[in-house]
Amino acid sequence: MQVNTEDVITGLLISRNEQGIRLLYRHYADTIYGIILRIVPGEEEAKEVLNDVFLKVYDNITSYDASKSKLFTWMARIARNAAIDKIRSANYKMNKSTQNIDNNFEAQSKKYEAVIEDSGIIKLIQALDHDLQNIVRLVYLQGYTQQECADELQLPLGTVKTKTRRALLLLRESLKGEGLFLIFFAFGMIHLIYKMILS
């Protein structure tokens, strides 16, 4: 929804303007940190990854292609991969029992309850069936591959694939109504930001 904000940020980063990092931080730092924290449970390590993600985004901004993906998607991918690299380098074990994953996730959800921004989405997720909930958590939030997810949940890979898709589709359906308003809002914001930068 913030495509135009993204254009501004991208432009600033390419021209090596610090304001780009500031805007990047204001728009995405908490979300990116959320992504990292679900994969790297240690706060200190998650913080290191967050720093590195910002550095990587800044250093590699010229390899970002706006025609292929949103800036957020690109940054989220960097965060996800950096987080996965971190736990692998730290000898984290991905192979835990389903029970453990569930417990781990429940524990984490409680731990970060206070910082969750949009409880509406959380409610939507909680309304999904058990398998879908687990798939959302493992695949979208904890950086599991579909194969790893299938192994963990002891489900056929094909089922995981279709359910991965269905889970997000269901969420997307529920969120459709909000789209138009957000587009108008985003245009207004972009206009303001441009004026601020150009003035």
């Binding site: 979300t31 910002f54 957020f72 996800r80 969750i116 949009d118 695949v139 979208y140 591959t145």
Partner: protein, 253 residues
């Protein structure tokens, strides 16, 4: 190719979250270029993924400034323009201006205080001088009125053969209790000598004391009531009990 089946396979979700290999990603991107439907689906998934992850945002444990510093301090990133750093400070310009103004006002105030103090001192001195002058003025007026009073008598002492051009003036009041002597007509006395004023009463000289010649001051002395004439002789410093008549310079009655 069956696009619907391709979309339904779940590969696009994997693509968006970054779970595919470089090669697989390139293949998806090729499909996006080729099929608008795929491109649109990827965009929809991106929006959904962003919404989902935003719901699980956690407060970043580092501040904006810390992130900036981290990026700045990393070698090779020293080229970040300081432009934005400056622009961050320019709103403080009026504050700095005000600060400088305040300091300069403080110093000029200090200087003004010092000048005022100097002026005050000068004023006090002038005041004192003025008071003295006024007092002197009053005194002079009193003398003037004393001298021009019809009750006063002016006695001109004329030069003797010893000093024909010498003269002196004695002003005597009515009861002769007080006299003023103007000595500016006398030649300067040689060293070791001093002039002495005498009153002559019934033929006897009465000592009225020695004095120094002055061109600007009247010499005031107690008068000798009943004196008929006055004379001035040159005596040794400190004066003599009897006048040295050979050294009489002026005399008058």
């Amino acid at each position: 190719m069956d696009i619907k089946a391709y979309i339904a396979s779940g590969i696009l979700e994997q693509y968006v979250i970054g779970a595919l290999s470089e090669k697989e990603m390139a293949e998806v991107e090729q499909m996006m270029l080729q099929y608008d439907e795929v491109k649109k689906e990827v965009e929809a998934i991106e929006a959904g993924y962003e919404t989902l992850t935003r719901a699980y945002a956690a407060k970043a444990p580092v501040s904006e400034e810390e992130i900036l510093n981290y990026v700045r301090k990393t070698p090779g990133n020293t080229a970040i323009p300081s432009e934005s750093k400056l622009s961050k400070w320019w709103p403080l310009l009026p504050v700095f201006g005000l600060g400088i103004l305040t300091v300069s006002f403080y110093f000029s105030l200090d200087q003004t205080k010092q000048e005022l103090e100097k002026a005050n001192k000068k004023y006090a001195v002038q005041n004192k001088v003025c008071a003295e002058t006024s007092r002197e003025n009053v005194l002079l007026k009193e003398r003037l009125f004393y001298i021009i009073s019809p009750e006063s008598r002016v006695v001109l002492l004329k030069g003797t053969d010893l000093a024909k051009n010498a003269y002196a003036t004695v002003v005597v009041n009515k009861d002769q209790s007080n006299i003023y002597l103007a000595s500016n007509g006398l030649p300067a006395p040689p060293s070791g000598k001093q002039y002495q004023l005498w009153a002559l009463k019934d033929g006897n000289p009465i000592d009225m004391g020695v004095f120094d010649v002055s061109n600007s001051e009247l010499i005031e002395k107690p008068g000798i009531p009943g004196a008929q004439a006055y004379a001035i002789t040159l005596e040794k410093t400190g004066g003599s009990p009897k006048p040295t008549l050979e050294q009489m310079y002026v005399m008058g009655s």
